[in-house]
């Protein structure tokens, strides 16, 4: 187990270095002269050159990248000239809120999708199954922002149940302290995920239902309830664990749209605002952190599956 984890960590670190290089060079391609962005269109050529020289932006790209990497190793994500703040501070202020929103959406989606997928698998080809599958397909084909707007139009404008704007509070715990204002954003994130999760869970459970161990469990007279909860559930959840791991970046990207739609001050909204401000240090750090989350998600998913499924050859 330990060797397996260590191997995975080593590969993850390599991938992370690769991501940082990819993102750094991409942003360099997009913005080759930060001095121009910071000082504005009216700044003289000399001033721009002086700024670039002072901050080392006139060095070769590779040197710039290496010194950026060195900064990263010291926990320094750079400085946002537009906000005149440390990037780490800016991101830290918003990260908690984004994480809570995504997490709440994920939890709601799993709570709905896992039982739904199991029910669909057990009652395969029944009316309930077909209806749920149909709804999933339509939900999956609906652009996230359209779904959110339809929810706003129904629950906020017509029924007046929930506010159309998310809470503007700066506490990350706003999902718990102000559930009314967060209901629609969480619901929007959850709805698209439910569509994917429940279909995954359904097909995994259908696969498992045909396996011998289920037949044995039934043959020895175990009540169906226990067959499902004790034997089927655990094994049918494996593909979903992997999927949730790989979906972590998608959840963040999804919340990009949702945060913009509900004006929720999280990382996604920060990213969009930074994009308009041409605040490249923030964009760089944000994209990098997205990559870290992806790698971390894959890593956790691998380890979780290894724990849940003892058959995986760990010593490999």
């Amino acid at each position: 187990m330990i060797w397996y984890a260590l191997r995975r960590i080593a590969v993850s670190v390599l991938v992370l270095v690769g991501i940082s290089a990819a993102v750094f060079f991409l942003l360099h391609l997009v913005s080759e002269s930060p001095g121009r962005v910071v000082l504005g269109q009216r700044a003289s050529l000399e001033a721009v050159a002086a700024f670039n020289h002072e901050h080392g932006f006139d060095r070769p790209v590779v040197v710039q990248y290496l010194s950026y990497l060195w900064q990263l190793l010291h926990g320094d994500l750079g400085r946002s000239y537009k906000l005149n703040e440390d990037v780490l501070t800016v991101l830290g202020q918003n990260a908690g809120r984004s994480a809570m929103l995504s997490l709440a959406g994920l939890v709601v989606a799993l709570v709905v999708a896992v039982p739904l997928g199991m029910l669909q698998a057990v009652r395969r080809n029944s009316l309930v199954d077909r209806l749920a599958t149909g709804v999933s397909y339509v939900l999956y084909a609906t652009p996230t922002f359209l779904l959110g707007l339809l929810l706003i139009s129904v629950f906020s404008q017509q029924l007046d149940l929930f506010p159309a704007e998310a809470s503007q509070s700066h506490s990350p715990w706003v999902v718990f302290t102000d559930p009314r204002s967060m209901a629609l954003p969480v619901l929007t994130i959850a709805a698209t995920s439910v569509a994917v999760f429940s279909q995954y869970q359904r097909s995994a459970a259908v696969d498992q239902l045909g396996q011998d161990y289920i037949r044995v469990a039934r043959a020895k007279g175990l009540p169906e309830r226990l067959v499902l909860s004790r034997h089927l559930l655990r094994n049918a959840c494996l593909p979903l664990i992997t999927l949730v791991g790989t979906m972590i970046p998608t959840l963040l990207a999804g919340s990009l749209v949702v945060e913009a739609l509900f004006n929720y001050p999280g990382l996604g909204l920060l990213f969009l605002n930074s994009l308009q401000r041409e605040d490249y240090p923030v964009l760089l750090a944000y994209t990098l952190i997205g990559g870290v989350f992806t790698v971390l998600g894959n890593f956790i998913a691998d380890i979780a599956v290894a724990f849940a499924d003892r058959r995986i050859e760990l010593a490999k």
Binding site: V138, A141, P143, T287, T294
Partner: protein, 298 residues
């Protein structure tokens, strides 16, 4: 193209490996799936609507006419007009052409690049394969939507560049799929036979490996087209879609939804319906194709 058909199963092999799904078996497998056929019919209807529609329903889509702005559906304008006075029905057709083109172009681009990359990596094996696939891991871990946003904020987006950027980040999945497929194909007897006979790597890739991966490739291209249509829509909503006068469903929906509180429902629901139906049709087709591929290789 004919060689793999002949050498696929040497008679000496006691347990013949299942034949990989070819393009033809996959397409004929579609017939057994009524849902896939329904999806295909729906897609054909949408394509006909976008490309034949303007012939039957010709409208002015170039001159702004503020006197006719935001008219509700009525005679002359079955779906009303938008806030620039353009006929919504005609705009749906034109925007649909752009959306379908971007989706198809991105999917084709991603599939061609991904297939070649995956086939080369899978055939090469060893260190080369390891390096090429780690590179895919790296690029897959860079959040795709962010990069597209950064690029389209800086560079002026048109249908071609948008398709290239989306395709440029979507080839990774096809590369992984095709490599996995090639890994199982490269040890088959007919590939070994071709090698023994001195076939060049290029010949092996193009006449043996890629034709036998076509099933997987076709499934993937359909899914990617559906995803591309959704990505373009999301970009439009975030304000980084195509700019005037080109329009696509995403930008139309994005500008329509700003008027949702003004009760201009005809600017939201028809175009929203078009996007949903197109993505739905493509996903239904892809799902049935995937089922056909899986059944064939079982």
């Amino acid at each position: 193209m004919t060689a793999p058909e002949i050498d696929r199963r040497p008679s000496a092999d006691p347990e013949p490996l299942p034949a990989p799904p070819s393009a033809r078996t996959v397409l004929s497998g579609l017939k057994r799936h009524p849902i896939g056929v329904a999806g295909l019919g729906l897609l054909l209807l949408i394509v006909a609507f976008c490309y034949l529609g303007p012939v039957l329903w010709s409208t002015n889509q170039t001159d702004v006419n503020l006197l006719d702005a935001a008219l509700p559906p009525g005679p002359g304008h079955p779906f009303g007009t938008d806030t620039n006075g353009f006929d919504v029905l005609g705009r749906l057709m034109g925007g649909g052409q752009v959306s379908l083109q971007i989706g198809l172009l991105a999917a084709v681009f991603a599939t061609v690049v991904g297939t070649l990359y995956g086939a080369v990596a899978g055939l090469a094996g060893g260190v080369v394969d390891g390096f090429m696939m780690r590179l895919v891991d790296v690029l897959l871990s860079v959040p795709f939507l962010f990069v597209v946003l950064i690029l389209s904020a800086r560079f002026h987006a048109n249908a071609w560049s948008l398709a290239l950027v989306i395709g440029g980040f979507s080839w990774l999945i096809s590369a992984r799929l095709v490599r996995g497929e090639v890994l199982t194909l490269r040890v088959r007897e007919y590939v070994l036979a071709a090698r023994v006979m001195g076939a060049s790597r290029r010949r092996i890739v193009f006449t043996h490996l890629i034709p036998n991966c076509l099933g997987v490739i076709i499934v993937n291209i359909t899914f990617q087209m559906a995803d591309s249509v959704l990505v373009v829509a999301a970009l439009g909503f975030l304000g980084f879609g195509l700019s005037y006068p080109t329009t696509d469903w995403g930008s139309q929906l994005a500008s329509g939804v700003t008027y949702i509180s003004a009760d201009y429902w005809w600017l939201v629901y028809p175009v929203g319906g078009c996007i949903i139906l197109t993505v739905l049709a493509l996903n239904l087709i892809a799902e049935s194709l995937r089922d056909a591929v899986a059944r064939k290789s079982d």
